[in-house]
């Protein structure tokens, strides 16, 4: 049995809502089949008021063993480092976060807010929010660069806005079944098993990317969203097109450009005028190229791809 405590800071509950969509295993299966004992959760927990405050204190004191501490949402520091803009159970949430992280075997940050600050930390970051161990790409965050949980791992970052339920539940199952030793993390502490491949991997529009056939406006069934509509699929690490969302689809399959929400810089360009759903270009060449591709190579290969494009690539492939 593993005791799990889940708290939310500057959060929208999106990761919780996403988590409740989990299957194989479902949230209930985690409890009944994998022995994960959910001590408390903001949306699902039974206790309120003093009873919850006591439970939290018992975790901090060690009276209740805390195996997994899951955090969703940012750590709010405003105003002036006091954290009183996010009070919870009688005190600033940031204080609970520090004390609970110190006693937990594993600390898991779920979603962009808890990993790198996410939407609330966009400039000017009015709530003075940080993630548990990062703010954007800067290592440190609320717990500091050197933080390791009792099991010897740094914060396990499961980013995404929100995180896919599978990314969360599979990591919890790995911990609960004694496979935490197989977890390998990338430089941003994301489990490589999910975040080594790209969003583009498995995208149904890949053939249009290959032949440089572009979707020039929304509501088109064919064409690649990278060339004109700002899609970040070729330079974002996520398995969105191999572990589908809600068992059915992905943003790019449905026609929405990838916003790169599993990367620390999300939302890119701070949403400044002219940057939303529009590819940033210089002399017709995208400013941000697919990961690992040089500008000159890009120009050569897209030129060749366009020349080689078969007729069908310009026609509707996904027809009614």
């Amino acid at each position: 049995m593993a005791n799990l405590l889940w708290l939310q800071g500057g959060a929208c509950s999106g990761n919780t809502m996403s988590f409740l969509n989990a299957e194989e295993p479902s949230a209930c299966d985690l409890v009944t089949d994998f022995g994960i004992n959910i001590l408390w959760h903001p949306s699902l927990g039974v206790e309120l008021g003093n009873n919850l405050q006591q439970l939290l204190k018992d975790c901090v004191s060690g009276k209740i063993k805390l195996d997994i501490f899951v955090f969703e949402g940012t750590v709010v520091n405003a105003p002036d480092g006091t954290g009183t803009w996010n009070r919870f159970a009688g005190r600033p949430m940031k204080e609970w976060v520090k004390e609970l992280s110190a006693v937990a075997d594993f600390v898991v940050a779920i979603g962009d807010c808890a990993t790198w600050g996410g939407i609330p930390a966009i400039a000017p970051n009015p709530s003075d929010s940080v993630g548990l161990q990062f703010l954007k790409k800067n290592h440190g965050g609320a717990l500091g660069k050197a933080f390791k949980s009792k099991a010897g791992l740094p914060v396990i970052n499961i980013p995404g806005c929100p995180a896919h339920p599978d990314w969360v539940s599979q990591i919890l199952v790995a911990v609960a079944t004694g496979r935490a030793g197989d977890l390998t993390l990338d430089e941003y502490q994301r489990p490589k098993t999910f975040f080594q491949s790209f969003t583009q991997t498995g995208c149904t529009r890949n053939m249009h990317f290959a032949y440089k056939v572009s979707s020039t406006q929304f509501g088109q069934r064919n064409g690649c969203l990278f060339y004109d509509l700002g899609c970040r699929g070729p330079m974002t690490h996520s398995p969105c097109n191999r572990i589908l969302w809600n068992r059915q689809s992905s943003k790019t399959r449905a026609g929405m450009p990838c916003l790169g929400c599993t990367e620390p810089e999300f939302p890119f360009h701070d949403l400044m005028p002219g940057t939303v759903f529009k590819t940033q270009t210089v002399m017709g060449v995208p400013k941000e190229l697919p990961t690992g591709v040089e500008k000159n190579s890009y120009i050569k290969y897209t030129g060749a791809a366009k020349a080689a494009a078969p007729k069908w690539a310009e026609e509707d492939m996904f027809v009614v």
Binding site: N21, E23, I119, F218, P267, P273
Partner: protein
């Protein structure tokens, strides 16, 4: 001892989204006064200021991961009205189906995960339904808890077929939608909808067909339905009703007796050239207010909205219309129950004062005769309201769950009406201007105001359902709707005041949208903008 007041500070209340603290004064085991405190602040409007006009499509769904489609709907229609777009019929239907599938998902999720687990509280161990409640509704392990929570993931699979994923897609954009679904997306959606009906709505929730349930038009019809067959009485709806009556959830949680809905689901033929003024005449689900004291219905307009900051952590007092709001936040936020004690503002109607938003409000408005003949009409909940003597925890939750049938039928409507070879998007021309978008999130009235100037956002404001409901006292010292609803609540065990939870959860409050913005360092500049 009679006449002795006990003050109870409850932090947190939990199972409302975001961080809600409640203070109640108790006399002789009954709440005589109450204060609700929104305790989280993120600052979305500050973030939106100066950004791309379309930034709200990315940012505002993240104001609330539970009502993201509702925020996206508001953000899109707000820009549509500001830019003067044309929205093709298919796109209106595709936006509606997203909103509807999010709402359908929310019904079982709220019922089992947030509401019914209080039925297994030891407070109710003497109820004759307790043992059965423990079997069905224990968190994670209850038989019907598991069915309800697991099946709640299905309706948003429909959302994913149009929006790519739920939560947090931005597939609705000014001028239409990003998707262009194919035949298989539509047929698969039908399959998911039927699965949800055959595995939850009919066997678990109702114990009968949707068609049989739709025959219920009055309170008496409902009671007769309950007695008609053991399947009805033993359904989760039957169980909810019987146990709620047994433990007295019909006896408290009254509230302020005045109600508001913005209306939602634009008619696909009547709102293709969206304007603020033309909105009320173009909604399938009508807008309106209901005042129980005078038993009168009226239309609702965005111009009637006011915000009052007398007891909120801002220097200004108001009342102010959201377009004109100049927020002056205070630098530090210690709770002062005679002064300022919440990040929420007190929202009101210029003539009617404080109003309750939410499913009960919607259902009471749908019973009115102030609407157009083609708009939705349903008098059941209004009939119950009058015959049961007004609102309660029980009726508010019943009104929420009753909405499944209108939602279900409207999803069917969308699936029938899509013309797959017609356009889904008409590229608009960007321009400056003011816009307003509204909808009904499952938990109530939601709207966004946007002011675009020089090609960027000058001002963005949101009033969420919980801002209406959870707001603190106003400058006349009148309590907010939930504060009012808490008065009269019996508290059996002050060390575990589950009854306070019942009241809060009957509103399905969502503090995360209520959280307003200011910057402690430069306060003044940011202070002009508040939000999500």
């Amino acid at each position: 001892m009679a006449g002795t007041t006990q003050t109870l500070d409850i932090s947190p209340v939990g199972r409302v989204e975001g961080d809600l603290d409640v203070r109640v004064d108790i006399e002789d085991g009954v709440v005589v006064n109450a204060w609700t405190q929104a305790e989280l602040f993120r600052g979305f409007e500050v973030i939106l200021r100066g950004k791309d006009p379309q930034a709200g499509l990315v940012v505002t769904p993240r104001a609330c991961g539970i009502c993201g489609a509702s925020h996206l709907t508001c953000a899109s229609w707000a820009l549509d009205t500001a830019w003067g777009t044309e929205v093709p019929r298919n796109a209106i239907l595709a936006r509606n189906i997203g909103q509807l599938s999010e709402s359908l998902q929310s019904l079982p999720r709220h019922h089992y995960a947030l509401f019914m687990i209080d039925m297994v509280n030891k407070n109710y161990k003497d109820s004759k339904y307790f043992e059965e409640a423990v079997r069905r509704y224990s968190p994670f392990t209850g038989t019907n808890y598991e069915i309800g929570v697991t099946l709640s993931a299905r309706p948003v699979e429909i959302y994913a077929l149009f929006g790519g994923q739920w939560p947090h897609s931005s597939y609705m954009v000014p001028g239409g939608v990003m998707c262009a679904p194919t035949l298989t997306d539509v047929t698969r959606s039908w399959g998911i909808l039927e699965h949800f009906r055959k595995n939850w709505i009919e066997p678990v929730w109702l114990g009968c067909s949707i068609e049989r349930y739709e025959e219920i038009k009055t309170y008496e019809d409902f009671l007769n339905w309950l007695d008609e067959k053991p399947e009805h009485a033993n359904s989760d709806l039957g169980m909810f009703w019987k146990m709620s009556m047994d433990i007295g959830l019909d006896k408290f949680g009254v509230g302020c007796g005045r109600y508001v809905t913005w209306g939602y689901l634009p008619n696909e033929d009547k709102y293709q050239k969206p304007t603020i003024a033309g909105r009320n005449a173009a909604m399938w689900m009508p807008s309106g207010t209901y005042d129980a004291a005078s038993d009168s219905h009226k239309l609702m307009e965005q111009a009637f909205c006011r915000e009052d900051m007398a007891h909120a952590w801002y220097e200004e007092t108001g009342p102010t219309h959201p377009f004109d709001r100049v927020t002056k936040p205070i630098a530090k936020n210690p709770p002062d129950f005679n002064g300022k004690y919440s990040w929420a503002t007190a929202v009101s109607h210029q003539d009617l004062g404080r109003l309750e938003a939410g499913p009960l409000a919607r259902q009471l408005v749908y019973g009115g005769n102030h609407t157009e003949s083609w708009q939705h009409h349903d008098g059941l909940v209004l009939d119950m309201y009058k015959k049961m003597g007004g609102a309660s925890v029980l009726l508010r939750h019943f009104a929420r769950m009753h909405e499944f049938k209108a939602i279900y039928r409207n999803i069917e409507h969308c699936l029938r009406e899509f013309k797959l070879n017609d356009p889904w998007y008409i590229k608009p021309k960007e321009k400056d201007g003011q816009g307003w978008g509204a909808t009904e999130a499952i938990r109530g009235a939601l709207c966004h105001w946007i002011d675009v100037k020089d090609g960027k956002i000058k001002n963005y404001q949101i009033i969420a359902p919980t801002t209406w409901n959870v707001g603190p006292r106003n400058s006349a010292n009148a309590r907010g709707p939930i504060e009012e609803a808490l008065v009269g609540t019996p508290i059996k065990d002050p060390s575990d005041p589950v009854e306070v939870g019942h009241v809060a959860r009957s509103y399905d409050s969502c503090l995360v949208c209520t959280v307003h913005a200011h910057d402690a360092k430069t306060g003044e500049e940011l202070a002009r903008f508040r939000t999500a």
